[in-house]
Amino acid sequence: MTMSDATRPAINAQTSAPLSGPTDADRDELRRHGILLTSIQELANWGRSNSVWPLQFGLACCAIEMIAASMARFDIARFGSEVFRPSPRQADLLIVSGTVTKKMAPQVIRLWNQMPEPKYCIAMGACAISGGPFKQGYNVLKGIDRFIPVDVYIPGCPPRPEALLNGLIELQKNIRGRHIAGPAPVEADSPTAPGEYPVPAFGERDLEPTSNPKLWQPPVIVRPDKP
């Protein structure tokens, strides 16, 4: 497969913000000498990463595995994340658990807009990442990352609850590497409503627009012709 990397824009730029502080190795070294090195940023990141409250928001099959992850066998509470808040105002994490249909997409984006910063998004399962098995459907959104930024993708159909926990651990690592000022402002499309993502309207045949072009620029695929 040849893919012109030059045309691929930086998607999810905010996830790769490097931590401009001491590295983990430095910190371990200091800790060994009895010095607990910390800073406001680290403290905040520690607090945020250990208290990720997900939005109680299930879409489809994966939602059941999400619920299962919060149940006794897997117990997401061990990570401090069992507080599934039903209101987006109190949630930190949007787990897009299942197929996002075109009819549902505006609602998901609205929920995301209603969540306070800092907020994170996990695309759980094939359908949330790319439309998955249902991507050939006329009413299925081909990946939630067309409209909102996704921090962690968990493939699987559905992913095991352990895989969700694994994704959560990845997210916690990601949060610990962030700057306190929040993610890089790739969003903020409209100057009148900063931080809000445009909500698509229902069109006659499709959502309008079909993606958020500021956020989503798909790379170009170039395949050699089939023999």
């Binding site: 099959c61 149940m71 249909t101 098995p133 249902f134 006329y138 299925v140 559905p158």
Partner: protein
């Protein structure tokens, strides 16, 4: 309410008009999970639709598989080996246990019991899922039935594990009922709430435990006698009031009957192949014709209507979703009750949005 709401069991929306807290008008809105299952089914082969049926009602993938396999087998006139039929009964009844257990948990979650019944329900669900996983390879999306049998044979260890689970299940049900069934708050919340009359239930095409809670004796396992169900002894519990409490209790009692069926099936399961030797995996093309095949799923009558034009893809692929049709009377049940009741009435109907919207 909805489509994002904690107790709509997914993405379901009810346009509720309230007078104070009393529901005066309620219009359900669907389609938030409309995944074009039928369109995809018409564009792929018969076999390729099988994993999609898992995702219809994602609690009951085994019964969905069976319903689809049954419809195709009847359409093409395929025989099924004896052992496979037994396995199907075992798996279908395990699915019924699974579904009803989870439903009881979710219903109580809707009444506000902060998670404990749901946790106990999911604790047992995990045990059943372990069985499914070790047999079919996946916890929820089993994709296990094939046209003319089952994909993999069950090992003796698996059967022993299933036996152990079935033997321990009554103890769980006892504990669960002790926890909650006698609870006065639950009775006050559910009794005389959302009463469904038998006449309306029949006319509105309600099926499954919901119909039987209204006192109508109609269970496809007895009526159609599909699979090997006529070989087993079991009773059909019926409710007299048709309210939410009856819908809950009928499911609890059905689980006890399912345990009985499972015991019989696990004792009698014969040796033999699980796949009809003439069945084809690739290039399956039934002759032209059409057929509607149905089974009694945990939620009600799940049927598949297939029109074959002789090619590898079905010409028309239609799912008869019990959840959608059971929702027909939602407004009738909720009128005059409070918002809090509407939530538990919806819970007791037992819908799964994957199936409602497909």
């Amino acid at each position: 309410m909805g489509p994002h709401h904690p107790s709509t069991h997914g993405v379901f929306r009810m346009m509720v008009t309230l007078d104070g807290e009393t529901v005066v008008k309620l219009k359900p809105v669907f389609g938030y999970l409309h995944r074009n299952h039928e369109k995809i089914g018409e564009n792929t082969t018969y076999l390729a639709s099988m994993p999609y049926t898992d995702r219809l009602d994602y609690f009951c993938s085994m019964t969905n598989n069976w319903a689809y396999a049954l419809a195709v087998e009847q359409l093409a006139g395929l025989p099924v080996p004896e052992r496979a039929e037994y396995l199907r009964v075992i798996l279908a009844e395990l699915t019924r246990l699974l579904n009803h257990t989870c439903l009881a948990g979710f219903l109580l979650q809707d009444t506000g019991a902060s998670g404990t019944p749901l946790m106990y329900a999911f604790r047992e669900r995990e045990k059943i899922l372990d069985l499914f996983e070790s047999l079919s390879g996946s916890r929820m999306m089993c994709n296990y039935q094939r046209f003319g049998g089952c994909r993999i044979d069950a090992t003796p260890e698996w059967l022993a594990a299933a036996r152990q689970l079935v033997n321990g299940y009554n103890a769980f049900l006892d504990e669960y009922e002790e926890l909650i069934t006698g609870n006065e708050i639950l009775m006050a919340r559910t009794q005389n709430v959302g009463v469904l009359s038998p006449a309306l239930a029949v006319n509105a095409g309600i099926t499954g435990p919901m119909l039987r809670a209204s006192g109508v004796d109609y269970d496809l396992r007895k009526v159609d006698g599909y699979g090997y169900y006529p070989r087993f002894e079991f009773r059909i519990p019926l409710g007299d009031h048709g309210d939410t409490y009856d819908r809950y209790m009928v499911r609890m009692l059905e689980m006890r009957e399912s345990i009985g069926i499972l015991r019989q099936a696990l004792d009698r399961i014969p040796e033999g192949p699980v796949m009809d030797p003439k069945a084809k995996i690739r290039g399956f093309k039934p002759k032209p014709g059409e057929h509607y095949g149905r089974i009694e799923g945990p939620k009600g009558e799940i049927g598949f209507y297939l029109i074959s034009d002789g090619t590898a893809n079905p010409y028309r692929y239609r799912v008869r979703p019990p959840s959608l049709i059971n929702l027909t009377i939602l407004e009738d049940l909720c009128l005059g009750h409070t918002l809090a009741d509407a939530v538990i009435i919806l819970g007791s109907i037992d819908i799964v949005l994957g199936e409602v919207d497909r």
